[in-house]
Symmetry: C2
Subunit: 143 residues, 2 copies
Amino acid sequence: MSISSRFSVAIHILCLLAINEEKATNTSEYLAGSVNTNPVVIRKVMSMLKGAGLVHVRAGVAGAELAKTLAEITLLDVYKAVNVVAENDLFSSHEHPNPECIVGRNIQQSLTKQFSAAQKAMEHSLEIVTLADVVQDILADNV
Amino acid sequence: MSISSRFSVAIHILCLLAINEEKATNTSEYLAGSVNTNPVVIRKVMSMLKGAGLVHVRAGVAGAELAKTLAEITLLDVYKAVNVVAENDLFSSHEHPNPECIVGRNIQQSLTKQFSAAQKAMEHSLEIVTLADVVQDILADNV
DNA sequence: GTTACATGTAACAAAACAAATTACAGGTCG
DNA sequence: CGACCTGTAATTTGTTTTGTTACATGTAAC
């Protein structure tokens, strides 16, 4: 299956916070309107972004704002903030292979090694892109 | 969520076919015993591996064998054979963002670009490892 | 302080999916 | 023919994602 859209929703929100400068209008309801989802979904994602120190939100007060500049936030930061893939868990392995078979006994360690490397390669690709890059694409508005 | 364990099952099977030289004993039931799953799961995976030209299996006749050497089969070949992640579909995007918002209107194209790059990085990591590498780890049998 | 309106979260429902399993059709070969 | 295998459709079970309802709590204007 695919990695949760919570990641793309989070990126969407953060870009919107950067572009829409009137802080007070960035309510969960307003953001939900742009993302096209439920305000509760937004608040859940926002809660995770807050926990990671990427945004400032206060209970009871309308609007959120970025806690860092766009160039300081990589896609990997967002990815980790919303916890869409646990460490060494991009690939799932079949459980309890037969320990009496040499393959069953040893394959897990080899798979873990290779799968971990592949996951890290993907994550590194996210690390070299910042939200500033994404916002630049958005502002080009080539539609 | 994680990528289907069908991938790890496929790798397991292929390694076993290479190590267990007595072709006729490699029935779906025997393989299921090492992987610890149902024989039908094995046959389904085997069917996909056959479609990709990685194994030789014949209906009605016991046993399967590799169609190539271990060094000729990369993990990417296996990954593609069992179809665990569709092209540009490792990450899912939220659907139908609001086209009246500049972010909603443009974010998909930017996300597609970045997500595609990350997926390709992961896949390239799988491409540089062959089953020969995995079997080497298994035969070390360091338990 | 109370009112209006926001966020924070728990709890639940619906839809989508993976994996195991059952059942059976069809192939191969002694 | 009969034993045994592969091929595959259909079903079930368990899990996960996403959306939704409901309500507690926080804030600030008045």
